[in-house]
Symmetry: C2
Subunit: 416 residues, 2 copies
Amino acid sequence: MMNIAVIAIGDELLLGNVTDTNTPYIAAASDRIGLRMVYSCHVADDAEEIYAAIDLAMSKADVVITTGGLGPTKDDITKEVMCRYFGGEMRKDEAVARHVEEIFRKKGLPMNELTATQAMVPESCIVVENAVGTAPVMWFELDGKVLVSMPGVPREMRYVLDHEVIPRLCSRFELQSAQLHHLFIATEGISESDVNTSIETMADDSALRRVHVAYLPQTGYLKLRLDAEDAELLGAAEREFYSQFGVYVIFKGDITPAEALVNRLRACGLTVASAESCTGGNIAHQLTLIAGCSDVYQGSVVSYSNEVKMNLLGVSKHTLESYGAVSVEVAYQMAEGVAKAVGTDCAMATSGIAGPGGATPGKPVGTVCIAVKTPSGTTSDVYHFTGGRSEVIARATVKAVTLLLKGLGCQATRLS
Amino acid sequence: MMNIAVIAIGDELLLGNVTDTNTPYIAAASDRIGLRMVYSCHVADDAEEIYAAIDLAMSKADVVITTGGLGPTKDDITKEVMCRYFGGEMRKDEAVARHVEEIFRKKGLPMNELTATQAMVPESCIVVENAVGTAPVMWFELDGKVLVSMPGVPREMRYVLDHEVIPRLCSRFELQSAQLHHLFIATEGISESDVNTSIETMADDSALRRVHVAYLPQTGYLKLRLDAEDAELLGAAEREFYSQFGVYVIFKGDITPAEALVNRLRACGLTVASAESCTGGNIAHQLTLIAGCSDVYQGSVVSYSNEVKMNLLGVSKHTLESYGAVSVEVAYQMAEGVAKAVGTDCAMATSGIAGPGGATPGKPVGTVCIAVKTPSGTTSDVYHFTGGRSEVIARATVKAVTLLLKGLGCQATRLS
């Protein structure tokens, strides 16, 4: 199997102000075409650091991708290192120059010297089209290996990777897509170590012992990935998994809980709304990130204050006074109220204490009441989540979604 | 200045399923105590890879932090490498063993062999307390340098870093906090290269030429960080910046646009609600991520369908039929309607096409109408955002927030 390494160049990555999303994106894309990532690193916009990183990466992998270190304020360093490593001098690429001018013209921005220097490239490279940005993408070859220098801006990097680089790597190295078969399963209520221990104690010829199992802990649930080159073996592993752990399975597939919920609602021909207090719109946000959700998702009320709970959701003042906003009674009324106000078959409602402040006697930070309405009825319970404010919000969101998913009949073996 | 390097261990990082948030977190925390991050990398759960990475990192930095490679299914490899690199054998740490048993008892989970092995540590290390997880944090010293092996689970890593490791590094190396003074400024409407070019053409003795300027592009706006060891120089640079670029400044500080808006609303004694169609609850979510927002943020209506726009927000059916949902007229009515329904002084409303589907003649993907209501009145305009679905949502969210921030009187020099 061929190997790939990624070098992410940029002072901003080392300062910690920016999270590197390019490297995992490249890793996942590489995996889909059978390139195994063996190494990745972050280095500063420093010629010696970049040179050393390229040298190390080229010793470990057949394909090296660099991101960043380009763009009008810093690419002199990177291009100079490429010239030193791969040989040759700099030259002006006319196509890139015209492309840069075109982009600036469309945006109504004036050209300046810095943007003009973007058209200079090492003569040892082949320029790959960057349709969505000004930095030229450069493809170098050395001793049968390939290095591609890509933009650091995530949107540009992803576009060029998907549209230009991956296809070129496939044809250059005669790679086939999907050399490995994958199966993703999401579980709740069982720990990574218990799953691992159970599998380790199975018979040596069990399918689950013979496939690769990757544990991918998520916020609020555990995702597992089973990998195998043989599709039949993977199918046998899946059956063994459900036989052993079926009661913990929430859904199948490399999707989010929200996507699984939207799929299930669509399959059942049902609609949903959310009434949110402590999750503050995050349930709605997770659902609306999904293109085409409007056939099942109709709307939400974020009832952050008690007045809004009463006025828009019809929660009773007496119930609020008797039990407090963070109560199963109020959550129940919120779910019923939003289903009626928005006009949906189903609903999720949350009312809780995300923290760090807001705790009251008997209701510590992390206490969240979640109500879920389906055509079969409405349930409402109290849960306790760990972590800081954003984690309580994220966990409560996942819990509400998985409760509704289960409430709609999580017939695991029939999930598509 | 002392250097730090980070090694993130874990097959899952190389597979691309997980984004490494630990490294930037460590980088930012290091920066605050004057440790400069010079290098970081990801390596597989492979003994030779880990050993080589440690060796390289120790040659580049005074402090090395490793994350991951611990936990009940894989820590044998990492601990064995530590023993080889730092010398000595493994021993059982009684405090860790008791701690692990306590955690499992509280969670009601059964102990198993794997969890028991977590208490085994190299005898060459000092064990640092991990109050929030089972994996022991290990502190090694060699030739005046320090290596700390930390958990990979982000919540655990952050807790131990903040509460144990950073304080210990400060006392071990007599570091002072905040050796560098920083100023963050958020701008809109000017490109990174134009700011850079303007600064480069200033006189050599300008304050802005003498401080370090880091460009931190965000979704929908540009964040700059000015760094200087001299607080007075930084103040002079700030004055020069406002003098040159003041018209582009949205806010000051290492905060999000939503935080800047909440601060401004609080200072003005005003409340806000949002009515969201294509942003689907994301504006509400960004506001409610902020602890203590409830004095200014009251609630939202996510009116994903036209029925909800009419029934909950009072948008006129005639307006919807005449102009369509994605129109400045409908956005205007949504803003007015939610301010009335929720009872607030201000409001933001969005109605647009996040994509990839949904375009109509004259309204391509990325078209978003945004209305903003303040005590001075309500404005409504159409905007065009680039990118995929989640980017259009994110950019429209930032735009709505910055429009309201500006509408409330963005008196830049008086922002605190």
